[in-house]
């Protein structure tokens, strides 16, 4: 079919066009799918490229890999493909599954499909996250049969437990503490809990996750220097060489894991394993799911982990057609075992479609991104170059804290809205370094709350309620968690509690002693507060009393101490936390799939963490390069790399890639 023919078919199906005119000129059709842009209506069908249309018309009986470069509008294409297919769909008991990696992506695709297909219910189709699908349709549904879940009140669900769950607040985890300790130095031991352990079907061994970025197989751990020393010491101590043999250690850890699963708990990896096993053990499970979902479309397929691919392979073998959509150059989920090399291999016998037009970025940004990632495919930047030779720049920084300000003035200079721009960082720690002061870390709870309350912004008031709530709950018996502004256990109405905090803050604001921080030191304010607060509290408490299961008279009023080390400092008036003009700071991972008019990618100062430093983005093959690629391709008109001070050689290297230095 020619491009026009495809557009003709599509507009007949989706817009119910009933005249011979081309879809671009059917402005009077009330069902026309269009979007408004700069005061004119754009026909969403006639703007599609031939490549995009070809995929929309691709067969749903064949396995297809749609290789979609950054900014290629693949969400729109998936949405239209899905709408086209379901408009023709007649079966009521089976449908298409579109699987994404985030709830946001799910919502976006759902919105598109609802816009295009104008259906109120998408049933029998399923648009959702991959995790939700694998867990909800397979692991939770069938897992209990293969892993012997004991169930609770007839419910055989698994509760998803984070591998790094804090045992301090979750005492029940003590039931799953292993006899095998985690030895990480001479005399340094911690406990290992079953939630840290999972089986890896690829490695065919169990892993123990010790910290966010550190895991070892049981064998590796057993042979580690520290653990071996512990084994030797124990054997010597009891004079028994039979102690802590590897078989024993393995058996112990695995039996803890089995008990954990039997009691209905599972970590993320377990859930995937359960799904995999259910498909493997019972051919009927796979066959019925593939009958229910004869077509499975996976968005961002580069993020699929090995086991997820195995699961999808089982469904493919059982009869489902797979459409994988994504960009292997954007695979940045190494830590969850997503390996583009393996994915590529799996996709080798899929029919390949390509989207090589980048609608997000201008050509200079496309070029520089390709160059740093050594991508050879020709990609066309289809966005105007608004900043000419200022499109791609770098900036050398000394002090992270001034970056925001610098970036603000750059944006101002080129007339780019800060709201549509973003600072991208690799690591969360860098993000907090960039932020001036965070309310979450406030130590002057009441003082900060009063200031925030006075700002009368919706966002500052929420924060004020949170801070004041955090302090007040300490005086009212303590809360279970931070839900409902730290509503204490004894208070029966969360709604009343909120009003109580409000009353309290209002009373503080109208108290001239409390509401006065000009030229005062913290010590002075707290002294006043100790005098004033009891009566304010008692007064406001009156209306809360009837909702308090444990009414109190505050006879022994708890003392509000000045936080240590601040007595002599002058009160730091809160400059609005995150002022409205501030530029969003995102991690590169969270910015996936997003686009910004301008992006400043901040390199870490050193190369300690993987993929955080600009040199790694250029030089280190594998994930580091892909991280640099993902970050850079978020930009539409302006890309800036903020890098630590460079020497002449580094500077030259960056400039040969096409970066222009700015001051």
């Amino acid at each position: 079919m020619t491009k026009e023919e495809m557009q003709e078919v599509l507009s007949k199906v989706l817009c119910r066009k009933d005249h011979p005119l081309h879809c671009d000129s059917c402005s009077h059709n009330p069902n026309k799918i269009s979007s408004s842009q700069e005061d004119r209506f754009i026909c969403r069908i006639s703007e599609k490229t031939e490549q995009q249309l070809q995929y929309i018309f691709s067969s749903i009986k064949q396995n297809i890999f749609l290789e979609a470069c950054a900014g290629s509008g693949k969400t729109e294409v998936v949405g239209m493909k899905m709408s086209y297919e379901i408009s023709k769909w007649t079966d009521r008991n089976n449908g298409i599954a579109v699987l994404t990696f985030t709830n946001e992506a799910t919502e976006t695709i759902k919105n598109r499909v609802e816009q295009f297909s104008k259906l109120s219910s998408l049933h029998p189709h399923n648009i959702g996250t991959l995790t939700g699908f694998l867990h909800g349709f397979i692991a939770q549904k069938f897992g209990y049969k293969f892993f012997g879940n004991n169930g609770r009140n007839g419910d055989f669900s698994y509760r998803l437990i984070d591998k790094m769950m804090d045992t301090f607040k979750n005492h029940w985890l003590e039931n799953y503490k292993s006899k095998i300790p985690y030895v990480y130095g001479a005399g340094k031991q911690e406990s290992i809990y079953a939630n840290q352990i999972y089986y890896d079907y690829q490695k065919k061994d169990y892993y123990i996750q010790f910290s966010e970025n550190y895991k070892l197989t049981i064998t590796e751990y057993y042979n580690s220097k520290n653990f071996q020393k512990f084994v030797q010491d124990t054997r010597n101590k009891y004079n028994n060489n039979e102690l802590y043999k590897i078989e024993y250690v393995k058996k112990q850890l695995i039996s803890d894991k089995v008990k954990f699963l039997k009691d209905g708990f599972a970590n993320f990896e377990d859930m995937n394993n359960i799904a995999f096993k259910a498909l493997q053990e019972n051919i009927k499970v796979a066959s019925i799911i593939s009958k229910r979902f004869p077509i499975i479309i996976v968005d961002e397929c580069q993020d699929l982990s090995w086991i997820e691919i195995q699961i999808l392979k089982k469904l493919k073998d059982a009869g489902s057609t797979l459409h994988f959509i994504g960009d292997l150059n954007q695979a940045i989920y190494d830590f969850k075992n997503a390996n583009p090399t393996y994915t590529k291999e799996f996709l080798s016998n899929f029919i390949c479609y390509k989207l090589t037009d980048n609608f997000r970025s201008c050509q200079p940004i496309v070029d520089v991104s390709n160059r740093i990632s050594s991508i050879t495919t020709t990609i066309a930047g289809r966005t105007n170059n608004k900043l000419s030779d200022n499109s791609v720049c770098y900036y050398e920084y000394d002090d992270l804290q001034v970056l925001q300000e610098k970036y603000s003035s750059f944006l101002n200079l080129f007339n780019i809205q800060p709201e549509s721009s973003s600072i991208l960082v690799r690591q969360l720690s860098l993000k907090s370094n960039l932020q001036v002061r965070s309310a979450q870390k406030s130590i002057h709870l009441i003082l900060d709350a009063i200031q925030l309350w006075k700002a009368k912004q919706q966002s500052t008031r929420i924060m004020a309620l949170e801070l004041a709530g955090k302090q007040l709950q300490k005086w009212l018996g303590g809360s279970k968690n931070k839900d409902n502004y730290f509503c204490p256990i004894d208070i029966k109405s969360a709604f009343r509690w909120r009003i109580f905090i409000k009353d309290f803050l209002e009373a503080c604001c109208s108290n001239s002693f409390i509401n006065n921080f000009e030229n005062k030191k913290y010590g002075e304010w707290y002294k006043t507060a100790r005098e004033q607060l009891p009566s304010i509290l008692l007064n406001t408490y009156k209306s809360l009393k009837e909702y308090d299961e444990n009414p109190r008279d505050f006879n022994s009023f708890p003392i509000l101490r000045t936080p240590s080390g601040t007595t002599e400092s002058a009160i730091d008036a809160i400059s609005m936390f995150e002022p409205p003009t501030s530029i969003r700071i995102n991690t590169i991972h969270s910015a996936k799939g997003c686009g910004f008019e301008s992006v400043m990618v901040v390199s870490s100062k050193d190369q300690k963490s993987i993929g955080g430093h600009w040199k790694q983005w250029i030089e280190v093959e594998g994930e580091s390069k892909r991280i640099g690629y993902v970050a850079s391709t978020r930009a539409k008109y302006s890309l800036i790399w903020a890098v630590p001070k460079l020497n002449a050689k580094d500077r030259k290297q960056l400039e040969t890639y096409g970066f222009k230095r700015i001051e």
Partner: protein, 663 residues
């Protein structure tokens, strides 16, 4: 597929988890009032979302409350399981399936409503709450409910509640346009009055509009139009009403009359015909259909009840996807269907217990019961307790003797912690069922293991059987006038057989085949079989020194006054039950029995007369009991003087009423 099981807890009169297993096809729920039949129907309606948006929402009354109102349930749990899914259904109902591919549906409601008094329902499928559940699947199940018929007229005339409207809505399905269009068209003709046929309406409209302008002025005024009621499909259909003509075959529409002028009985027939027509539409429906019908017998004469149930049976045999659940109090209905379709419901320990009659092991008795469980005998399915008797005498006399027994029992337990029993069989809900013979084994298998049948399922209600000892005839040698034994042709001494009249000092072994059941039956939880210790019911009654009253009765009934029989009766009456020699008593008893059996009297007539006499006398005595019951012992002695109830009868009565037997 069909609903194979329902579990209910915390709902209506089921506090503890109550369970009922359903058959494919037709299920007839039988049981006394308040046993839980309606609870079952409503639980099914609730979980299958029949009438979701009308009155069937959860209210406070739906939660179980104990009779003393002290305990109420904290949540409602309703669970159903569907069995035998076809391969297509396994796919359609995937999100409701458990790992065995049975569909499960669960509903939980917490007793704490939100602030607006709304109870939150949690619905989930399969075996685990965390698995994906698709609400849309409800569209694949059709649940139709027929409430008990209280007012046929209301259901037949026009309006929202009209069954006729339901039928028409189903009949029209999705092809509503034509009807709506023609009503609309007619409406347009009236309002436009293009042909000038409706000048009166036009004139009226004009008048109103003119008056409007006159009174309000053209500025404030409004305009009106006159039209023919409403023209939406529902409104049109709801305004169609039924009219009738008392003979079939009438076609002249002018002769039909308003339903209100018809007889109640005939309106019921019209109603049932409407229901049949609605059910007839199910034949074109390939959805899984659950039909819930409450008390269809209301206002239906017996022949029609039989016709109705046979029709449903035929319907379910034909439509494999249709399951019917009926509640009934009608022995006619219960007796005209195979016992395999009957499910007995009874309330026990704050839950309902459901027993499918087909699950009771009845071995070779099944055919017998299917044939002989007629209208009178199927009363046992609606009773709280049962006394099975051999014949008409027992059937008439035992209710009277029970009054005496129960009065005696209640006085004896008044000083103890035992619970008193009701004062009569009617009050206790105990039915006396005449099985016309000694075929106890067929009936007792419903309640106990006997006659080489065994199984776990029994009807959990108390059942007593009362049978006769029936000793064999006594052999006596024949002598000639000389006192020499008469010999037969082959030289053996000739004998004759005469009725045995045993004495309690010298009882004879019974010859009744039912006696062999006693040992097994009496081991059971629910059934006991009692036999007269000596001979027959009447003889044993007489042998309890009741000859005076029995002779009085005989004298009244004997056709020849002042004859020999009357004189003999008088002699016995004069004796006033003061026997010293048991032989004498036996002689008198024999005399009475022989004359009861005489064709001049007959057992039935005698029993009726005897019952009448004692009942009058007992009532006279019972009437004298003071309100504080201080004289009850004395009165009981009076009653005991009147008649002595044989112990085996007493035991049978007490057992069936739920009391404790001494041994």
């Amino acid at each position: 597929m069909y609903i194979s099981e329902l579990k209910v807890a915390g709902y209506k009169n089921a506090k503890e988890t109550s369970q009922i297993k359903f058959n494919k096809g037709l299920n007839v729920l039988v049981g006394e009032n308040g046993s839980g039949k309606t609870t079952i129907i409503n639980a099914l309606r609730l979980i299958l979302k029949e009438n979701e948006f009308s009155y069937m929402n959860i209210s406070e009354d739906d939660f179980f409350i104990s009779l003393d109102k002290q305990v109420s349930s904290e949540n409602i749990k309703i669970d159903i399981t569907f069995d035998s899914l076809t391969p297509d259904e396994e796919v359609t109902f995937l999100s409701w399936c458990d790992a065995e591919f049975k569909a499960q549906l669960h509903l939980e409601v917490n007793a704490n409503p939100n602030r607006k008094g709304y109870y939150k329902k949690e619905v989930w499928g399969g075996q685990s709450k965390a698995s994906i559940f698709e609400e849309e699947t409800f569209e694949c199940i059709d649940c139709i409910y027929f409430p008990p018929l209280r007012d046929a007229e209301e259901k037949l005339v026009n309006g929202k509640k009209s069954r006729l409207a339901q039928l028409l809505k189903k009949q029209y399905g999705d092809n509503k346009e034509k009807l709506v269009d023609s009503v609309k068209g007619f409406n347009d003709i009236i309002t436009s009055n293009a042909d000038g046929n409706y000048n009166e309406i036009e004139a009226a409209k004009k008048n109103i509009n003119t008056k409007l302008v006159e009174t309000l002025g053209s500025h404030l005024g409004q305009s009106v139009n006159l039209q023919f009621a409403e023209t939406t499909f529902n409104k049109v259909v709801e305004s169609i009403k039924m009219v009738f003509f008392p003979l079939s075959g009438e076609t002249d529409p002018n002769k039909f009359r308003d339903i209100a002028t018809n007889s109640l009985g005939y309106n019921n027939l019209l109603y049932i015909a409407t229901v049949f027509a609605e059910l007839e539409l199910l034949k074109d429906n390939n959805l899984v259909t659950v039909l819930l019908i409450e008390e269809p017998e209301a206002h239906l004469h017996p022949q029609l009840q039989v016709k109705f149930i046979k029709y449903l049976k035929q319907l379910t045999d034909m439509l494999h996807n249709t399951q019917v659940v009926i509640t009934t109090h009608s022995p006619v209905l219960a007796s005209s269907i195979s016992i395999d379709n009957l499910i007995h419901i009874v309330q026990k320990d704050e839950r309902f217990v459901a027993t499918a009659l087909k699950d009771i092991n009845m071995s070779n008795s099944k055919g017998y019961l299917n044939r002989w469980l007629d209208v009178t005998k199927s009363t046992l399915l609606f009773s709280k307790g049962i006394i099975l008797v051999e014949g008409i005498s027992e059937a008439m006399l035992i209710p009277v003797l029970a009054q005496i027994t129960l009065a005696k029992y209640n006085i004896s337990v008044s000083e103890t912690s035992k619970k008193p029993l009701p004062s009569s069989l009617e009050e206790a809900g105990v039915s006396v069922i005449n099985i016309n013979g000694i075929n106890f084994k067929h009936f007792l298998k419903l309640f106990s293991d006997c006659d080489n049948s065994s199984g776990d399922e029994k009807l959990p209600i108390r059942c007593s059987g009362i049978t006769d000892n029936d000793p064999g005839k006594t052999e006596i040698p024949l002598f000639d006038q000389d006192g020499m034994p008469i010999l037969s042709d082959d030289g053996e001494p000739q004998k004759k057989f005469i009725e045995t009249y045993p004495l309690s000092s010298n009882p004879s072994k019974g010859n009744n085949s039912a006696l062999a059941l006693i040992e097994d039956v009496n081991k059971s939880k629910w059934a006991r079989l009692f036999h007269s210790p000596l001979k027959t019911f009447e003889y044993d009654l007489a042998m309890e020194k009741n000859t005076k009253l029995m002779a009085q009765t005989l004298k009244i009934l004997w056709p020849i006054e002042n004859g020999k029989v009357s004189k003999d009766c008088e002699k016995i009456i004069e004796y006033d039950n003061k026997y010293v020699d048991e032989n004498l008593l036996s002689e008198d008893a024999k005399f009475i029995i022989e004359h009861i059996d005489d064709e001049n009297v007959g057992k039935g007539t005698y029993a009726q007369q005897f019952a009448e006499i004692i009942e009058t006398q007992i009532n006279n005595e019972l009437f004298k009991i003071a309100s504080d019951k201080s004289n009850s012992t004395a009165i009981l002695q009076n009653i005991n003087k009147l008649i002595n109830v044989p112990k085996y009868i007493e035991d049978a009565v007490i057992w069936s009423c739920g009391g404790d037997l001494h041994d």
